[in-house]
Structure formats: structure tokens, C-alpha cells
Amino acid sequence: MSLIRMSSPHVYKANSTANVMRLVTLAMLPGVLAMTVFFGWGTLIQIVWASLLALGFEAAMLKLRKRPLGFYLGDFSAVVTAALIAVSLPPLAPWWLTGVGVFVAIVIAKHLYGGLGQNPFNPAMVAYALLLISFPVEMTRWNAPFVLIDGASVASFMDTLGAIFGSVEPAFYDQFTGATPLDELRHRGGLTTEEVWRQSAVLAEGIGAWHAVSAAWLMGGIFLLYRKVITWHAPIAMLATLALLSSMFFGYDPDNYADPLFHMTTGATMLAAFFIITDPVSSATSNRGRLVFGAGIGLLVFIIRTWGNYPDGFAFAVLLMNLAAPFIDLYTQPRSYGHTRANKGRGGNA
């Protein structure tokens, strides 16, 4: 009798990377649904288009790198990246814009660094930052929530498809697109926030759509927390920092600074909190590290939103903190069992 020799443990939890990615995709559903309801078919079309591209690029890169296709494609990480890019882009963004974004994310930010688990930067955010800098017009042409548009002229599926893949009259964009609340606030001129709120239709009426979308992302986030796919550390640290800073400034000068709820519910705050800054590969690794990582992003986002040139700053904040993650890791080792203090730094002679 000769039996198999194996090292312990002999049992494993039924879990896999693919499973983790599927759960993330599942958690995105409420957000995607809300976006579709309030901004039209564009989001769904972008997701499908981006996912197809992502799988194609991923397959091509795996082939170039001589890696088994099925094994790596099966982990669904490319689809998650694609979906995150798709929901970050304006729903009516042209097809090539999405294409460039996915190419940059999968080929450059992921595979050129060694593939899954090796990328120092969040691929979706690398793509977003590159697009925002290279194509600012296309990237800021968000369509207005439907509540602001005459119900009869809601863009149909085919119209939207045509807008993304074909060429349409500029009038089409004029009809559907508009500034986001963050844009409005950023380009308010000499007006106080209160005056902007009263004057701007986007802020007065359209804000509800943004609240709803944020709530949907939050739901997905809670699901991920519940399923223990992510830990609370980074999202809570980021939201708390952003809320704290905005409260302080709003309390100090309500005329010039937005209130905390506005910061929590507009732009990419909730999406980023639960789906972007929680990307484990490029963030700080320990629980303590993620607290620092999240807080840093919250701080940077507030600074960029309030004093920077861009209305929203998650891409830049995340990339900057990605840079800092290895450093954060050095100083956020947990205190191990039986030790009085946590170890810090590199260890050894360093």
C-alpha cells in the first residue's frame, strides 16, 4: 500500500480567486442598475464593451507571456477591472475612449508589471488618470440625469449604442449631457455654495440621482463586507477622513465649502470607497496599513476637490497612495501574539 504524501493542512475552504472576483462583480450590480436607471443604457453598454476588450487583451498578453489561457482567464480579474473602468467613464463616452482605457489598464498597468498580483498601481485608476489627462473633453461630458430631461426624449438603447459606436451630431450631446454636481461647485465663480445650490438645476434637482447611485454602491460595499471579501479598514478610514475634513471646513466657512453629505454622495466617493481603494493588490496590505492608506486617500481627495484643478480626484489620490503603500507596509506590521510591540521598518540592519 502506498498512499499520497501531502503537507498539512489537508482540507481547504471552498474558495478561489474567481469566486472573490465574482462576488465583487455581484456587488457592483446595484450600482450599475442605479446608473442605468438614472443615466441610461450607456453604462451597461460600456461594461459589456470593456469586458470584451479586457478579455481580449488579457488573452493576448497571456499568450505573449506564454501562460495558460484558461487558468488565468478564469480568475475574472480582467472583467472586474473592465467593469470598474466602465462605470467610471461617462456613460456616453466614445468606444475608442473605453478601448484606450482598457488597453492601458490590462496591458500596461497589469501585464507589463507581471500580471495579477504584481501590479503596484490600480489598473483602472491608471487608465482613468491617463484618459482624464489626455482626453479631458470626452472625459467630462457626463450626461445629465434623466430627471432633468424631458421624459419623451430619453435616449433609447439604439441611440445610445449609436452615440458610443457611431458618430452623432454634437446636438445629441448637448441634449443629454451636462455638468456634474462637482463641476458645478468647482466652477461656481464668485457665488457662495448656497447661491449655487439655488441656481443650479443639477444641484437642486439632479442631486437626487447622485444620492441614489451612491446609496447603491454603498449597498454593494456592505455586501462585500458581509461576505468578508473586503475589510472595513480602508473604506471607513477614507470616508471618515473625508467626512471629518469636510465637516471642519464646512463648519468653519459654509459659504465656500461643500457640506459632508455632498462629499459623501457625489462623484466617485462610494464607488471608490468599496470597489477601488479596496483593490488588495495595490493597497497597503495589513489592517493597520489599510487604515493609513484609506485615510491618505480621503485627505488627498478632499484637497484635490477643494483646491485642485480637477472636480474629482480619486484616480490621482489612489495612485499617489499606491506609491506610498510599500512604505506604509513597513510601519504598520501588527503586533504579533506574544510580542509587546509591533516590529517596524525593514528589519535586519536597515
Partner: protein, 774 residues
């Protein structure tokens, strides 16, 4: 009940415990053969005390513990020792190890044994020794000899005794069933330990999935006067880990690198308690234990009371193994157990469970995917490490960083690998890193050791060299001093004549004693006719010489200090001789010069100069001699004068040889010449020949002068030598008669005679020496 605290992390794998608790603990048919491994734990292997072929009884000691951390082994049943040698054992390495194989005789006859009626009245150390002799070892995890933990009380104050009944690993129910069926024995064992280490508090830690066991324990504890608590902890793997259980029950963490006893806690397993009870109350050594046999590949999962050494096959048979279903055979639990490759591996003291798993139950691990640093491992790590970081460091061989991340606090519980979504065999990475670090450290130690040895050797060689050099210097100095001391009396009374005198006296006395001894030995040898007479005679002679010399030194020193003016007799003599020699030489040289002048030879000037020089030297020698004989002072001119002769001789010799060469050349040239020229040349040649002959004669005359001088000295030397020898002989003779003489008056006269003789001998000796060196 006290408060239950929490430890970080932990997992909830499927328990799979129900299957094996349906039946009570079963008995096995007696196995045909039993294999008792000599080493079942860390520390030293036991040393067998039985021989192959010997008949043993059940419970008979078959191997003794060696050293402190070692456990005794006993025959699990009666029978015959078949062999003592390598056999497969349950160990992660998969290697064979020495086992005592016993063939059962089927009678299961016990050796005479009896329990201790009143252990409380017994000496503590004797009771612990009894437990050691019964081979009791930890039955939960590492199989650590129990007596070692009991002795800990000597240098540790133990406040808390923790009884580990958590049994947190899935599948295993051996402790559970033991508690259900033998709770009284366990409590009895706890009483004995309580008596031995006197803790202020005993806590039985048990997971909340063992309601039945908790109930029976509570019943058994009713009316117990001891401070024993049953603490129910939530079911979470690895709550049964020693450090985790201590945290759960006391909220104290065992410091890294320390043992629980360092914080006043001793942990014991319930199975061990039952074994202690049986050892003390019945005198039964640890020869059996409860083993869970479970898994999908057995039809009737059950717990069995199995003898130590029972092959797994016997247990699997008892549980009705489906051989075609068996895929993986695990000893221990699914989280930390080790796989065994076949079923002839024996049960040891720590074998709590055998899992016969089917392929569906424990499939091969999924292929490893890239780590996405999801951190799920961090959330479950009970040691609060960063498994994801340790993995990267182990993979990248960054062992310094791994150590900095407390790799060695990893208890290898497998919780991280269990939850890893990328199916990374994390524990294997940590084991690899640990063993690499250990190897590296061992090599480093070895290298350090070698370096230290090399450096020590170099230092030793240097030291030896220095010592040798110092000794050489000391010797040289001593020799120089001795030389000075010898010369001192001659030159002047300066220095420290007193000291030297004393030293010389001592030396002389020592030399005399030696001489006496040698003489006696020789006499004895002559009488008995045994021994090497010639050697003894030689020894005597050498002793005689050294004695003479010592005495002479002493006498000379004495006379020197008495008459600082010195004893210049021999020097004057020498000077006289030297002057005579110089004169003779001068005469010869003058003759040679005259001769050369008349013949008009080459080198006339040189000869003249030589003669002149010789004249001065002869004058000087004469003067010196006159001075010396007149004023009794010393002058070295004489010796110089005598030295001048060889220099002169050399020059003459050279001239002769030069002339000879010239002559030869001319002769050769002559052969080529014709007629008139030839006649002329022949004439010239003739002249040359004459000159050469003259020069040769001059040389020979000079040589003769040298020889004359040597002859003059030679006579002197010969005479001197004879005189010296005679003087020495006289001394010896006198010494001998002195030895023989008892009479005081005669002795005194002899002694004075001897002193005089010695002085004379020494004088002669000195003169002789000077002439020899001159």
C-alpha cells in the same frame, strides 16, 4: 465560571466529529505484532534494555529514558522481542526509525505492578520519578515527557494549571470520548497534578461542541474540594493550541520565545491526566491510548483503545476500511496531521486520530494561483502575523524580512492556507523558510566556530613564536652575561662580583654533588657488575669536567675579587711569544726583501711596505711585551702582531701566482715567435722565470715563518694541555680523597690542597683556552 476571552483570527472548518462519537470506545483484538518506536517526541530517544528473542510481559520496561527530555517505553503486551531496528514511523519526514518489534503471545500477561495507595504521603520527587518510569508523555500534541513539566515547579511558580480539553481539530473525538467515559480518571489525574504543582487555580478549557463531555465532567467534579473550573470556549480552530487556549482562558499571552511556565501556567492534555491517574493508582505504564478512526474510507468510524505500537492496519480493519476508497491516510487532524504512506505504521503516544480519507473528502490541492494580497490569511492568523507578507518573503528568499515579520511565531496551524482563495500552500512556504533559516544559522554557527578555531590557532602560533623568540633572547642575554661574568674578573673588579661569586659558589656546589652521585653510581655499578660501565664512566668524566670548571670559575672569581689587579701571567707569556714570532717574521721578510732588491723583482715596493709594517708590528709587540711584563698590564698588540702574518702571507702568495701566470703567458707567446724576436723573448722569459722563483722563495720563507710561529705555539699548547689535564686529575684525586676522609683536620688540609689544585687547574685551563682561540 470565569470570563472567556478571545484570540485573534481562527477558522471554522467543517467539524466532522459526529461520525466517530456514535459508538463507545471500542476494544481491539490483540495485534500479532507491535512496533514501539524508540523516539516519539523531541529530545532523546529511549535506550532499549531488552534483547532480540527475549520474552517480555505486558507493562515491562523495554527502553529506558536517556537524559532529561526522554520517556520510558514499556511492552504493550506479553510476547517475544522479534527485532530492534528501523521500521516506518508516523513522522512528517516519512523516514524509518528504530522500533522494538514485539510478537504477541496472545496471553496479554501483565508484569507484576501495583499502584501507590497514598501518593499524598509520598515524596514529591519520588512521585514524579514514578510518573517518569511509567513513560507518561503529553498525549495531545508534541508528546513532551510529562515529568519535565512537573519539575518546572522547582524554578517556576505555577499559579494556573490548564487542562486542554478543547480538541479543536476537526474529525478528532478521542478526548471527547475519553471525557464522556472516563471523567473520573481525568479528575483523578488532575488531583495528582494538583498535589504535585499546587496551582491556585485549575481550568479545564473545552469547546462548546462537546456538550456531553462537559456534562460528565461537571458531574465528576461535584463535591470536589479543589478550585477547578470548567471553562467552555467557543468552537473555533485553533482554540486547542496551547498559546491560544491560554489567551482564551486567562487573556495572557505567552511571550514569544518563552514557555507557559514562565508566566506561571502549565498546560496538560486530558488524555495525559487519565494516563497519570492509571500510572499512580494502578501502576500501569502508558501502553495504550484512545485513537479516533474516521474518514469516508471507513464504514464504522469509532474510537478505539489501542496499544502503543499497534499497526494502523489493525485499527482500519476494526473500523471496516474500504480499501478502494482510501486516498489519503492522515495521522492527527486534517489541519496539522501528517500523511502516512502505508498502514504498517504504528500507533504512538501522540496518535489521537487516524483519518482514512477518500479523494472526494480530501482532494489534492488546487493549483496555486497568484497571491492578490487579499489579506484573508491575516484575518484568520491566530499568531497575528502577516501571512501574505511572510509568503512573499519566503518565496523571494528574503529571510531577514521574514524573521522581522516574526516568522518563528508561526504555529503552522494552517488557518491561512485553509482560507487562501489562491490555493497557496502557505504553511509549506513557512516550513521551507524556517528550515532554510535554521540551516543558514547552523552553517553560520559552524563557520563562526571554524573561524574562531582558526583565529585561536593563529594566536597560539604567534604566541609560541613570540615565546620562542623571548626564550632565544633570554638565552642570548644569559650567555652574554655569563661571558661578561667570566671576563669580569679578568678585566676588572667592576660589576657585581659578590653576586657572581654566590652564583658561582652554588654552581660549584651543585656540580660537586652531581659528580659525587655519578661517582657513586659508577662505584655501585662496578661492584655489582651491572649497567653500562663505559657510559657511567663518561658521565663521571663529564661531571668531573663541569665540577672542575665550576670550581675554577669560583676560584678565579674569588682570587679576582681578592686581587683586582688581575692575573696577567699567561698574557705576558703570550706577548713574549708574539713578540718573538713577530721578530722572526720580520727577519724573514727582510731577507726576502733583500733578495728581491738584488734581483730587481716586481712587487719590491710591496715587500718593502710589508717589511716596514712588520717592523712596526714587531716593535709594537716588543713594546707591549715589555710593558706587560714591566707594568703587569694587558695589551692586545701581541695578538694583532701574530695576526699580521697571515695577511702578509696571502699577499705574497697572490704575487707568486700572478708571476706564474705571466710566465705561462710569455712561454705561450714564445712558441709563436721566430728568429731575433724569439731570442729576445727567450731572454725576457728567463728574467721572468728568475723573478718568479724569487717571489716563490719569498713566499715560502714567509710561510715558513708562519709555520715556525705555529710550531712555537704548538709546543706551548701541547705542554699547556698536558699541564691542564694533570692539574684536573690532581683536583679529582684530591676530591675523591676528600670524599673518603671523615677526619675533620685531614679534611681541612685536603680542602685547602684541593682549592690550590683547582686554582692551578683553572689557570692552566684559561691559558690553554686563550691560546686555542688565538
Amino acid at each position: 465560571m470565569g470570563k472567556v476571552f478571545a484570540f485573534h483570527g481562527g477558522i471554522h472548518p467543517p467539524e466532522n466529529k459526529k461520525q466517530s462519537t456514535r459508538e463507545p470506545i471500542g476494544q481491539l483484538p490483540l495485534p500479532k505484532r507491535l512496533y514501539v518506536p524508540l523516539q516519539q517526541h523531541i529530545g532523546m530517544a529511549a535506550s532499549p534494555i531488552v534483547e532480540v528473542g527475549q520474552t517480555v510481559l505486558k507493562g515491562q520496561l523495554i527502553a529506558e529514558p536517556v537524559g532529561r527530555i526522554s520517556a520510558a517505553l514499556h511492552a504493550p503486551t506479553s510476547g517475544r522481542v522479534l527485532s530492534i531496528g528501523p521500521h516506518p514511523v508516523p513522522h512528517a519526514s516519512g523516514l524509518d526509525s528504530d522500533c522494538i518489534c514485539i510478537e504477541s503471545d496472545g496471553e496479554d500477561r501483565w508484569v507484576e505492578h501495583q499502584g501507590i495507595e497514598d501518593y499524598a504521603a509520598m515524596e514529591r520527587d519520588d512521585l514524579i520519578e514514578h510518573i517518569r518510569q511509567c513513560g507518561i508523555a503529553g498525549m495531545g500534541g508534541a508528546g513532551f515527557p510529562t515529568d519535565v513539566k512537573l519539575h518546572l515547579g522547582d524554578d517556576h511558580i505555577v499559579n494556573t494549571l490548564i487542562i486542554n480539553a478543547a480538541e479543536c481539530e476537526p474529525y478528532i473525538t478521542a478526548d471527547d470520548m475519553l471525557m464522556r467515559e472516563r471523567a473520573d480518571q481525568i479528575i483523578g489525574g488532575i488531583r495528582i497534578l494538583h498535589h504535585l504543582i499546587k496551582p491556585s487555580h485549575v481550568i479545564i478549557g473545552i469547546e462548546d461542541n462537546k456538550a456531553h463531555a462537559i456534562h460528565t465532567l461537571e458531574k465528576a467534579l461535584k463535591g470536589c474540594e479543589l478550585n477547578i473550573d470548567i471553562q467552555v470556549v467557543p468552537t473555533k480552530y485553533p482554540s486547542g493550541g496551547e498559546r491560544q487556549l491560554i489567551k482564551l482562558l486567562t487573556d495572557i499571552e505567552v511571550p514569544s520565545g518563552k514557555i507557559p511556565a514562565d508566566i506561571g501556567i502549565v498546560c496538560q492534555n486530558v488524555g495525559t491526566m487519565s494516563a497519570v491517574y492509571r500510572a499512580v493508582h494502578f501502576g500501569e505504564p502508558l501502553i495504550s491510548r484512545v485513537v479516533t478512526v474516521t474518514g469516508d474510507a471507513v464504514a464504522r468510524p469509532q474510537n478505539f483503545e489501542a496499544l502503543i505500537g499497534t499497526p494502523f492496519a489493525d485499527l482500519l480493519d476494526a473500523a471496516n476500511l474500504y480499501e478502494d476508497r482510501l486516498y489519503r491516510l492522515v495521522m492527527g487532524g486534517p489541519m496539522m496531521g501528517v500523511t502516512v504512506e502505508h498502514d504498517q505504521i504504528p500507533v504512538i503516544k501522540t496518535t489521537n486520530c487516524i483519518i482514512a480519507a477518500s479523494r472526494e473528502e480530501m482532494p489534492p490541492a488546487a493549483p496555486e494561483q497568484p497571491c492578490i494580497r487579499c489579506g484573508m490569511c491575516e484575518q484568520v492568523c491566530p499568531a497575528e502575523l502577516l501571512p501574505q507578507q511572510l509568503y512573499w518573503f519566503a518565496k523571494g528568499r528574503e529571510f531577514d524580512k521574514a524573521k522581522h515579520h516574526n516568522l518563528f511565531d508561526c504555529i503552522e496551524c494552517g488557518a491561512c492556507a485553509y482560507v487562501c482563495p489562491s490555493s497557496i500552500p502557505l504553511v509549506q512556504y513557512y516550513r521551507f523558510a524556517k528550515s532554510e533559516i535554521r540551516t543558514e544559522e547552523a552553517e553560520q554557527r559552524k563557520a563562526d566556530h571554524a573561524r574562531q578555531r582558526f583565529e585561536a590557532r593563529q594566536a597560539r602560533l604567534e604566541r609560541e613564536k613570540a615565546e620562542k623568540e623571548a626564550r632565544r633572547k633570554a638565552r642570548a642575554e644569559e650567555a652574554a652575561k655569563a661571558q661578561k661574568a667570566r671576563k669580569a674578573p679578568e678585566a676588572s673588579a667592576s660589576g657585581s662580583p659578590e653576586l657572581d661569586l654566590n652564583a658561582l659558589k652554588t654552581a660549584a656546589a651543585v656540580a660537586r654533588t652531581k659528580l659525587k652521585k655519578a661517582q657513586k653510581a659508577l662505584d655501585a655499578a662496578r661492584e655489582s657488575g651491572e649497567g653500562d660501565l663505559s657510559a657511567l664512566e663518561a658521565a663521571l668524566a663529564s661531571a668531573q669536567t663541569s665540577a672542575d670548571k665550576a670550581q675554577a670559575d669560583l676560584d678565579k672569581a674569588q682570587s679576582g675579587s681578592a686581587a683586582p689587579a688581575g692575573n696577567d701571567g699567561p698574557d705576558i707569556k703570550q706577548l713574549k711569544t708574539a713578540a718573538a714570532v713577530a721578530r722572526t717574521k720580520l727577519k724573514k721578510a727582510r731577507d726576502a726583501l733583500k733578495n728581491a732588491e738584488t734581483k730587481g723583482l716586481d712587487g719590491l715596493d710591496k715587500l718593502r711596505a710589508t717589511v716596514q709594517e712588520l717592523e712596526t708590528r714587531a716593535d709594537e709587540a716588543d713594546k707591549a711585551y715589555q710593558q706587560a711584563s714591566g707594568a703587569n698590564t694587558q695589551d692586545s698588540a701581541g695578538s694583532e702582531a701574530s695576526e699580521a702574518a697571515p695577511v702578509d702571507l696571502k699577499a705574497l702568495k697572490q704575487q707568486v701566482s700572478i708571476m706564474r701566470t705571466k710566465l705561462k703567458k710569455s712561454e705561450a707567446a714564445l712558441a709563436d715567435l721566430e728568429g731575433e724576436e724569439r731570442a729576445q723573448a727567450e731572454q725576457a722569459l728567463e728574467t721572468l722565470r728568475q723573478r718568479h722563483a724569487e717571489a716563490d722563495r719569498a713566499f715560502k720563507a714567509a710561510e715558513q715563518a708562519q709555520l715556525d710561529k705555529a710550531a712555537a705555539q704548538g709546543v706551548d699548547l701541547k705542554k699547556l694541555k698536558v699541564d691542564a689535564a694533570m692539574a684536573r686529575a690532581a683536583v679529582t684525586k684530591l676530591e675523591r680523597s676528600l670524599d673518603k676522609t671523615e677526619e675533620a683536620e685531614a679534611r681541612a688540609s685536603l680542602e685547602s690542597e684541593l682549592a690550590a689544585a683547582r686554582r692551578k687547574a683553572e689557570e692552566l685551563n684559561e691559558t690553554l683556552k686563550q691560546h686555542e682561540t688565538a
